[in-house]
Every structure is written in structure tokens, then in C-alpha cells.
Subunit: 298 residues, 2 copies
């Protein structure tokens, strides 16, 4: 995708490209074991904003990325993200019955199938990243290590565990941030890093700058999530109270109030953009993505 | 471990070595997030026969294996195996409350924690295999690809899905074997292949022979499982009927009768051993393991 094109068009392009890439890389519908593969495709397709694939591709624009490696990376990141949503929605976790406007995987199929869908999608992520590409094998190992760390007990799964343990418990800002850094931040950072690593010649300095960007962006993303959840609660007052309020989960709005939380998110986004100061126009989609995160309204 | 030592001693050695390796490679007890890490260690330690680590190390004896790579491989295989047990035992799957003589992970903790333990152990497997070693990076990628395929929808998770779907359904021998080839066979084959791949100079011919060995061994393992389950049922007649009978699962004993099933297992083991004919004494532990599988009584 050429630089400077309209950001909304670029977003649409990435969303279409993600659908096409997942369609191509997931096992084909009808292949055995058919019920599992059908459920994997159900969970993976037509879903969400595709923020993480956008981050992979935007970071990959910083150098001459190996296209094939970037496609595997965006599909792998999205497989991990989707598996986490499938498992999160299950009865023993958040017990959500809707996801992306359609029945959650455990509702459409069964909890047992949803469990296996998540498990198989995680395996698939690492299968994709270990396929041969024209990147150095050592570089591919680095990508696998990055994703495995981001997904595991010191990343996303660890954040989920902290989140489970802290319902109804008062957290201070540091504790709340630590939880989010693991639960959602780690995978956002991995997406940006994997995109950068697809450029064989990227410098360590550039990777460090990318990671500063992603760390601030990931936090801003979560603060805005809390703000949007709160605002949605208010707008539906008298109907069902919002999920965060229901479960008595700690949120940024509860911690610092609505106005301060929104301001905090804007500061974080500015810091994310500042981290990109050494890059030229090649970072324009990364900058636009940061603005998008704070400006989104759903 | 030197060749020709007593097989029982070697087994004990591998079991101790597996405990020590997992103790060293799992996040240390007390590290944050403490509840998740405690539960991961609970599920992983003091468990089972450690058949898959034995297969990794026995196959690694065929050449000058990189010790560090073999340790990562045996720990990674065991992480995948343990995660599958933790998820299998959950209420929506087999709903088993005991595992290796202690409360299953979802009983000792909660189903939500068990879900995350399994998820985090799978991530950890790929984190271990992507750590730098003195093996070629391309070789390590091949190991990751092998394990990811063995664990995913065309391997273990796929076999679980077929198993779920076939309860109460009559399967012929081909269908039953296909299910087991995925459910337990794929990981047994991956264990042997990963052990072989730890030897930098191993030939493609040797890897093919190893895979023939492992494919037959994996099947024999499952046939004997069915035989043992049936015999255990008979010995406890009048008490609780065996799990397979309870759930009306298709088994080899039901399909071909006890005597024929046992004979079939013995033939498979002989074929496994025959596949090793081009190897010398370096394959003695692989041969002994095949005998062990058919001779075990629990």
C-alpha cells in the first residue's frame, strides 16, 4: 500500500487483506476434522477492527518488509487474539454470548468445541510463524519468541489471570496498568515488533522506538476502552448496567474520573507519536493508528 | 546417559531429569502472576510416566544431539502434553477430577485457572523451542513447525474434536485409527522427530525410519490403553464400570475383541522395532521403549 493514501481507505484495505489472508491460511472449509475447522473459521472470519494486523502492516512499512513474512505475522497475531476472545467468552471466564455481533463460539457450537478452537488457533499461530520465508531463520525464531512471550504467563494469559483475581479488589493505578500491560498491551507490542522484524535490515534503535510507541499505544487503547464502556453505561442508564460496573472490575474511569482518564489517554497517544520522531513519512500509518485509537467511539 | 545401562534405571533417570528440567524452565514458584504460575507448576510437576521425554531423549541418542536443544524439546513436548491433559479434564470435556493421583487442575484451582494454565503451557512450549541454541536456526524452525502441526487442528486438537464427535457412534478400524493417530499419535511422533532433529547431522533417511517407528508405536500405545482399560473394568466388575464403557466410546477391544487387540498391539510394536533395523546399539532405548509400551500394566 503506498504511503499517504487516505487512512480510512488504508484501514479498509488492511481489513480486506486480513480476511483474505486468514481465508487462505486457515484450513479450508470442509477439510477434516470438519466440525473443528468450521468452528475455527467461524471464530476467525468477519471479526473486529483488525487493529493488530494494522499494527503489523504499519510497522512493516518502515523498511523493505518481506511480504510473505508480514502476512504470516499478521495472521499469527490475529490467531492468538481470536483464540483469546474465544476462551474469554467461555462460561468459566466472562460468559459472554455475543462476539462481533454474532453468537460467541461456545454458543454457536459447544464449550468443548470453543476450548479446542482456541487451542488449535494458538498452535496455528506458531505453525504460521515457523513456515519458511526469505527472512533469516534466526529472525523468524526471534519473531516466534516474541509472540510466545507475549501470549504466555508473562503476557496475555498472565494478564487474564490477574484480571480474574482482581474482580472486586481495589487496584491502584500501577497495579491496574500492570494488568493491562499483560492482558492487552503485550500482544499490541508484539504486533508492532513483529511488523518491524519483517524488515530484515531494521536497526535495534528503530525496534526500541517502535516498542516505546506500542507500549504507550497499548495503554491508551485500554484507557479509552474504559472511557467508552463508561459512556455507554451512562447512555443506557436505566437499562442493563455496563459489564465493568456489573462485575465490579477496576477501571481507569473509576480510578481517575472520566475527564482525567480521557486526558490521560490523549497524553499517552502523544507520547506514542513522539516515540516515532526519528521516522519519516514511512511511519504515517503508525501515527494515524495512534490518533485512531484515541478518537474511536466503539 | 551411556548406552546399554539397565532400562529401568534409564527410565528413572529420564523421569528425574524431566522433573529437574521442568523445575528449571518453568517460571519459578512465587513469581508473578503467582496464582497462575503456581497452578502451572502444580499441573506440570510430579506427573505421569514421562513417556514423551523418554522418546525425545532416546531418539536424541542416534547422533550427537545438542543437549540444550534436547532439554528444550522434551520440556516443550511435555508442556503440550500437560496442557492437553489439563484441558481434557475440564468439565466441558471429560470432566475428570483426578489426574496422576491428585486433584485435577480445575478441581485444585478453578476451571478458569485450568483454562489459562493450558493456554500458558502451550505458549511456553513454543517459547522454549525458539530460544537460541547451538543448533541451526533453520533446524529449530523445523522443530517448531513439527510441534505446532502435531498439536493443532490436524494433530492433537483435531483428534480431540473427532473423539468428541464420535461418542456413541460406531467407528470402523480405519476411522478409530485416524482419530488416535491425531489425538495421541501425532504428539508421540513429534517427540521422536524432535529428538532426532536435535542431532544436527541426522539424515533424512534416519528421520523417515524414526517416523515409521513412532507411528507404529503410537498406535500400539493406544491399543494397549484400550486393553488395559477393559481389563481394569473387568477386575472391578460390580463396582463402577470403566470410563470407556460409561461413555460408550469406540475402543479396539470392542472392535476386535481382547485377544486380537493384544496381538495387534504386539504386531505393531514389532513393526516399530523393525523400522529401527538400520540403527545399531544407539537405538537400544528406542527398542526398549517399544517393548515397554506393550508390556506396561498401567
Amino acid at each position: 500500500m503506498k504511503q499517504g493514501s487516505n487512512f480510512a481507505d488504508w484501514q479498509k484495505h488492511v481489513q480486506t487483506h486480513t480476511e483474505e489472508t486468514l481465508t487462505r491460511l486457515l484450513p479450508p472449509a470442509g477439510q477434516l476434522p470438519a466440525p473443528l475447522i468450521e468452528a475455527m473459521r467461524y471464530a476467525a472470519m468477519d471479526g473486529g477492527k483488525r487493529l493488530r494486523p494494522m499494527l503489523v502492516l504499519a510497522a512493516a512499512e518502515l523498511g523493505n518488509a518481506v511480504t510473505e513474512a508480514a502476512d504470516y505475522a499478521l495472521a499469527a497475531i490475529e490467531c492468538i487474539h481470536i483464540y483469546s476472545l474465544v476462551h474469554d467468552d467461555m462460561p468459566e471466564m466472562d460468559n459472554d454470548s455475543l462476539r462481533h455481533g454474532k453468537p460467541a463460539c461456545h454458543i454457536q457450537y459447544t464449550p468443548a468445541t470453543a476450548l479446542l478452537v482456541g487451542d488449535a488457533l494458538q498452535s496455528m499461530a506458531f505453525s504460521l510463524l515457523s513456515r519458511p520465508t526469505s527472512l533469516d531463520a534466526a529472525r523468524q525464531l526471534q519473531m516466534i519468541q516474541t509472540l510466545a512471550q507475549a501470549a504466555g504467563c508473562h503476557g496475555m494469559a498472565g494478564g487474564q489471570a490477574i484480571d480474574l483475581a482482581c474482580v472486586g479488589v481495589g487496584l491502584n493505578q500501577g497495579e491496574l496498568e500492570h494488568m493491562h500491560q499483560l492482558k492487552t498491551g503485550a500482544l499490541i507490542r508484539a504486533a508492532v515488533t513483529l511488523g518491524g522484524l519483517c524488515c530484515q535490515d531494521i536497526s535495534q534503535q528503530a525496534l526500541t522506538a517502535l516498542d516505546h510507541y506500542a507500549a504507550h499505544l497499548g495503554l491508551a487503547f485500554q484507557v479509552i476502552d474504559d472511557v467508552l464502556d463508561y459512556e455507554q453505561d451512562s447512555s443506557t442508564l436505566g437499562k442493563t448496567a455496563g459489564k465493568d460496573a456489573q462485575t465490579n472490575k477496576p477501571t481507569y474511569v473509576r480510578l481517575m474520573g472520566l475527564t482525567t482518564a480521557r486526558q490521560y489517554a490523549e497524553n499517552l497517544v502523544q507520547q506514542a507519536i513522539d516515540a516515532l520522531s526519528s521516522f519519516d513519512q514511512r511511519a504515517s500509518h503508525l501515527r494515524a493508528l495512534a490518533q485512531f485509537v484515541v478518537a474511536r467511539n466503539h
